[in-house]
């Protein structure tokens, strides 16, 4: 396929989409207001959708909404918002040229569970209609935790692990020095992964501007292509506000000394200073962050700007960092049925590098030669999304994105650098015909890397996809789709992949849903895996120009989701008043051509090769409940996995067999007490040269107290309450206990 066709395909698609004529019939509209049933306050941001159409909207700051371009007829309209029960108005009559007024008064729920998701099928759908497991971390959950980077947001999500910045869903990835990601990371539906590795820059997106994070577990290649073979993480950022809002958040944290005197590499730990009677907060090891944002509407344009600054001394040698990030987002409505959103992110980071400890006796120190090793990097991201609702039944979306990552090692033995670009353009169409909701589109992606370590390399991808979500009788949803991907590496060759997916979800009884899916996923070798040529800390990695085969996986999942509520009558209903959900999933994945690093004994160097046949199977149980009219919230997730290399019969490297997350939150007036616990069983296998290293399970407990006063919140948190020392990858200790004070507010 010629490179020019990469561009021509989606443009033709867009032209075809745009040429679909709008309905000639005189249309009408639905207007209305959404309020809280108990307080009567308007619910800004509430989603209102017209069933069986592509139309919908969000309520403004006054709770009002308008949905235009509706053909005369009778519709069902649903309002939904996290923290409230969905409400549907049926038999809403729309007349040509007329305006129909409706009002929603949503009933609050004590459980802040999401109702709608957008990532699983590239379109808004009820979480109960998705054929795969989806977890959502919403803004309330983020604000209740004192997190400064996005990876911390995900650490309490069932089945999700992050090892040294590398994202793992249900044991799919483990740890491979971030050379290739099996999870696709997106921001507002735009991939934001580096062009060389598919890696994620967790510090680029300010957590204060996150509305929700959707975690889709299982193969997503049928819609998203390479990198989505084990799932997707989609960060949905806040929309600009209609009314001027200024938000801020500051935090100050101090590191506790490690539990063992041998590991106290400095006397700058706060608790060491306290014990010595020589407290100096100016020199104590600390981490500080400040975020400031402003959002307002300027004419027809909604604007949001966030500036963030984070610095840390770190808790180990070479553990310091200095970061800036800026996010800007503009939302424009050129017409009532058109929306243009443009966002940009710039982030810079200068941090010490801790590759491996000096020795286990000096576990928070680096080998002498590596003291002072640093990495600097800059990230720039620009996304644009144009959505056009051509009619009530047809809409198209144009997406363009650009992501540049530039980094530079300043090591004693390595001065490598790279500038990597990833540019993508996508056309997506959504069409509703009877019971069918068809999503189809085309995508082109271009990667370019300039680096002495990789050489100057270019890759291109072109893809076509389509998926039909069929509603059968209102209680059963069938999903069937596929994607064709063409991947070309300049000077190496090409590869083609077809990634089908089928799914079934059903709501056979009240509050319950069943799901079943089978999907094929793949991941093309990253530029780093093919071309990496470097020496760092004495280890040498050489290119493998024969690495052409994508790794592939079949993923199967079946699950049960059951909501429950006992709202009235008796002690159970009136006092305990439980409300919540249970979700149980069984999953099975079979991998071929898994890409892994291996020691090439002829070259005496490491190399990425197509190595393993592997399988992973397991179960995941999630429970969330609110008790005592929402005063006590409990959530937990247990994931049991058995990821096995079928050639050696051993567990895959850096995988835990069990993961558990659990916690609760107790609201007592303005005060909230909260507690989180994370567990991962000991990794049974690691790369050979570190096999004799001591390995322990992960046990992390965080506790916090929050005090809310109007639009302000003061928080005090102890992270890693037990000061438990553990390692997720070899020879690197995870954070010691930390005491963090934070203040956030909104003006």
């Amino acid at each position: 396929m010629k490179p020019s066709l990469y561009i021509v395909i989606p443009l033709l698609w867009a032209a075809a989409a745009g040429s679909v004529p709008a309905q000639q019939t005189v249309t009408g509209r639905i207007t209305g207001i959404v309020t809280d049933r108990e307080t009567g306050k308007p619910l800004a941001g509430c989603n209102v959708v017209v069933e069986s159409t592509v139309l919908g909207g969000a309520a403004d700051s006054g709770g009002r909404f308008t949905i235009s371009r509706l053909r005369p007829g009778t519709y069902a309209v649903t309002a939904m918002m996290i923290g409230y029960r969905n409400e549907t108005k049926r038999d809403v009559r729309v007349t040509g040229g007329g305006s129909t007024e409706i009002a929603f008064a949503l009933k609050p729920t004590t459980l802040e569970m999401p109702t709608m998701v957008v990532t699983a099928s590239k379109r808004q759908q009820s979480i109960e209609d998705t054929p795969v497991s989806v977890d959502v971390v919403n803004r309330e959950a983020i604000e209740s935790r004192n997190v400064t980077t996005l990876d911390e947001v995900l650490t309490n999500t069932a089945g999700v692990g992050i090892i040294d910045g590398q994202l793992d869903i249900r044991g799919s990835t483990g740890f491979n020095w971030s050379a290739g990601s099996r999870v696709l990371f997106m921001v507002d539906g735009h991939p934001m992964i580096s062009g060389e590795t598919g890696g994620i820059s967790w510090d680029a997106i300010p957590v204060e501007q996150i509305e929700a994070v959707e975690v889709v577990k299982g193969a997503g290649s049928a819609l998203y292509g390479s990198n989505a073979m084990a799932g997707m993480v989609n960060v949905i950022t806040r929309d600009p506000s209609d009314t001027p809002v200024t938000r801020f958040r500051v935090s100050l944290g101090y590191f506790d000394e490690p539990a063992y005197p041998e590991w106290r590499w400095t006397d700058r730990f706060l608790t060491t200073q306290i014990a010595d009677g020589a407290v100096n907060l100016g020199t104590a090891l600390s981490a500080q962050s400040i975020d400031l944002s402003h959002s307002r509407k300027a004419g027809p344009v909604g604007l949001l700007v966030n500036v963030g600054r984070k610095v840390s001394d770190g808790y180990h040698q070479n553990g310091d960092y200095s970061r800036w990030n800026v996010l800007a987002k503009a939302r424009i409505k050129p017409a009532s049925n058109q929306t243009l959103v443009i966002s940009t992110v710039y982030a810079s980071d200068d941090h010490g590098d801790f590759l491996q400890w000096k020795s286990q006796e000096n576990a928070l120190e680096v080998p002498d030669a590596e003291l002072g090793n640093r990495v600097t990097n800059e990230k720039t991201n620009i996304n644009a999304t144009f959505k056009h609702g051509v009619s009530a039944l047809f809409a198209y979306t144009l997406k363009a994105n650009f992501y540049r990552v530039g980094w530079h090692n300043h090591f004693y033995d390595n001065d490598d650098y790279a500038v990597t670009d990833r540019a993508g353009f996508e056309v997506q169409t959504d069409y509703i015909r009877g019971a069918h909701s068809i999503t189809a589109g085309s995508e082109v992606i271009y990667h370019q890397v300039e680096s002495p370590m990789y050489g100057n390399q270019r890759t291109g991808d072109a893809a076509l996809y389509a998926e039909d979500v069929i509603s059968v009788g209102g209680t059963v949803t069938v999903t069937a789709g596929s994607r064709f991907d063409y991947h070309h590496v300049e000077g190496i060759g090409s590869d083609r992949q077809i990634s089908p997916r089928v799914g079934l979800s059903a709501r056979p009884w009240r509050g319950g849903s069943l799901r079943l899916s089978a999907g094929y996923g793949f991941r093309a070798p990253s530029i780093a895996e093919v071309f990496a040529n470097l020496t760092v800390s004495g280890f040498r990695v050489v290119p493998n120009l024969e690495l052409r085969e994508a790794e592939r996986a079949w993923n199967f999942e079946t699950g049960l989701h059951q909501g429950f509520s006992f709202g009235s009558g008796g002690w159970l209903g009136t006092v305990l008043n439980p409300e919540g959900m249970v979700d149980l999933a069984f999953f099975y994945s079979r991998y071929t051509n898994m890409i892994d690093v291996d020691l090439n004994t002829d070259l005496m160097a490491f190399q990425f090769i197509n190595l393993n046949k592997a399988r992973n199977m397991g179960a995941e149980l999630r429970v969330a409940a609110a008790l005592f009219r929402g005063m006590l919230s409990i959530n937990s997730g247990l994931t049991c996995m058995d990821p096995v290399n079928l050639e050696t019969d051993k567990m895959l490297n850096y995988r835990s067999r069990y993961r558990f997350t659990g916690g609760f939150s107790l609201k007592l007036g303005r005060v909230t007490l909260a507690y989180d616990y994370r567990y991962a069983s000991r990794t049974e296998e690691v790369v050979d040269i570190f096999r004799s290293d001591q390995r322990v399970p992960m046990h992390v407990m965080d506790a916090r107290i929050l005090y809310r006063l109007g639009a302000f919140q003061i928080g005090f948190e102890t992270k890693n309450l037990r000061n438990y020392h553990y390692s997720l990858r070899q020879r690197s200790i995870e954070p010691v206990r930390q005491f963090v004070l934070s203040l956030r507010g909104e003006i």
């Binding site: 590991w263 004693y412 033995d413 004495g538 040498r540 004994t601 005496m604 008790l627 005592f628």
Partner: protein
Amino acid sequence: MKRCACSALLAALLLFACYKGNGLDPVSGGEDRAGIRGHISYTGAWPDSTREVRIAVMKSYPEGISDPDSLLAFMIEALNTGQLFFSDTLTRFIGGQDYECDVEPGEYEWILAAWFPDITLFLTGVKQLGAYSDDPARTHTPVRVMPGSFTEQIDMEADLDRAAGDVIFY
């Protein structure tokens, strides 16, 4: 209601806090550890090109192997088959220090101080600074390591001037 909630909170705290397992500690390997311990003393001047020094515990010596590629192959094979163990990196630019090195139980012919130069690959360019011997008339003394225990007082001198020499192993 608040009493019930507080009771639930306390119960959950107790449940989560009852875990008493140990995390990582400064002493690796747990109760089954075996290895050697001793003191290394340096003589001569530290070359600026020093990346690190480690203790190497070897079951056999790379006798007659002089070219770097063959030596590298020998060491990788020995590492993979449990014939060779390295300690963690030792502190540079000091006069001496206590060390320990975890190994599998067994008999080891050579205990060496291995010097690694800067800007090189792991295991390449390594040179021998000295070897453990309890008899000045002998180049080395074998050491036996018993299961679950450390063989102590494996002291040795390391001659840093050998790092500048041409000889890799002697």
